[in-house]
Assembly symmetry: C2
DNA sequence: CTATGTGAACAGCTTCACAGCG
DNA sequence: CGCTGTGAAGCTGTTCACATAG
């Protein structure tokens, strides 16, 4: 593929929201859904929903709406999550261990396949919880990435180590990084980065509250 | 305050990034920084940085750039994080406990002041780690919110409970919710919600990788 | 009659380019 | 000179409104 020019980035982000909501409707055995219904629960206009979906193809049925299972399949295909993909995690600290225990990844097409840490005390240990995994040393990363064809990695190390670890991930063959460290990663143009900074979201809430009623 | 009309939302989001970066520069004892330097490390144009900051006031010094400590003060003021503000957490599961242990909040002006859970086995326990807090029953929330003047809460409960707990938070007086549950919260117009869905960020990376090289 | 898909109009955001200040 | 602040231009994304299909 490679025709993703022209598609607004916000539309791609909303696509994930649509999928999540569609899966919720599927769990409740809804057969079809209209752009209006889907938009309403997500706080979007019906036109927005239709336009977004139309960027990716003609999925709807005039007079009917969108068939839920069909649209789920199509959207998963577009996002590349129609087949389970393996992901690695670097950093077995508090956040890392919470991520290992998080069952939401599996449900959405991602399998945590390997965990790495720098700390020699942690290396060789098994993680606890239901999803038990051995913690590997960073030096093992290139071999494991190749062996399991892993393309995406989650970075959950302290800010001070993040840039260096990110470089090691890229060198090991990782092409997409989900970054939880509160620093901007400098990577080449062939690597994608998505960053989550927990404090920043609180700041945004703080700003919104201050803008309305001090 | 209330003049935040006219300011693009993306500019507000970047303001947090600027602050984070400015604090990093302050730690390295930089006195001043230009819009070009700041933009470069964040992957933005110099014009973007200047325009964004100018939405909020005239902070720069022509020929010099921005004085780092001064700009930090001003931006904190704008975001409402110049004074420590108390935040509560609902949900002492894996993610919740990782958030309690996370030291990044304090550094950025937020103090985790109270933890709540529904599970009677957890209620009354102390959380472990350095930041020990008692876990309260949800029924205590209104009193504690009032006592500590808490306005923002972090929601880290399972998806199935999220909407109901959110309503209890709002009823208790919470005006801003940082939502980690993968469901869209339906709240009144006087409540702000920021959502973080870990799986969605992985999906976006998956899409980007599939769009460039299958 | 219901609901999609879509060009056209509109709104919002970003970039440009330069006047003006230290 | 170097660098900010800012109108104006340019571009991207959203909403409107309607032709079209079931």
């Amino acid at each position: 593929m490679g025709k993703s020019e022209n598609i607004p980035l916000p539309a791609v982000r909303r696509l994930s929201l649509y999928l999540r909501q569609l899966e919720a409707y599927a769990d409740e055995n809804h057969r079809t859904i209209s752009s209006r219904q889907l938009g309403e629960v997500l706080g979007l206009s019906d036109a927005q929903v239709r336009k977004d979906l139309a960027y990716f193809g003609q999925f709807g049925h005039p007079g009917i709406g969108y068939r839920v299972p069909e649209l789920i399949q199509r959207v998963r295909r577009i996002l590349g999550t129609d087949k389970l993909s393996r992901v690695l995690l670097v950093g077995a600290g508090n956040l890392g261990r919470a991520l290992i225990a998080f069952r939401g990844f599996q449900k959405r097409g991602f399998e945590l396949a390997a965990v790495f840490d720098k700390d020699p005390d942690k290396v060789g240990q098994m993680t606890d919880g239901p999803n038990r995994l051995k913690i590997w040393d960073l030096s093992e990363m290139p071999a494991i990435v190749r062996k399991h064809s892993i393309r995406v990695g989650i970075l959950a190390v302290p800010a001070s180590a993040a840039q260096q670890v990110a470089e090691e991930m890229v060198a090991a063959g990782i092409r997409g990084i989900l970054n939880f460290a509160p620093v901007p990663l400098q990577v080449g143009p062939d690597v994608s980065v998505a960053s989550v900074d927990l404090a920043i979201h609180l700041e945004q809430l703080s700003f919104e509250l201050n803008s309305v009623a001090p």
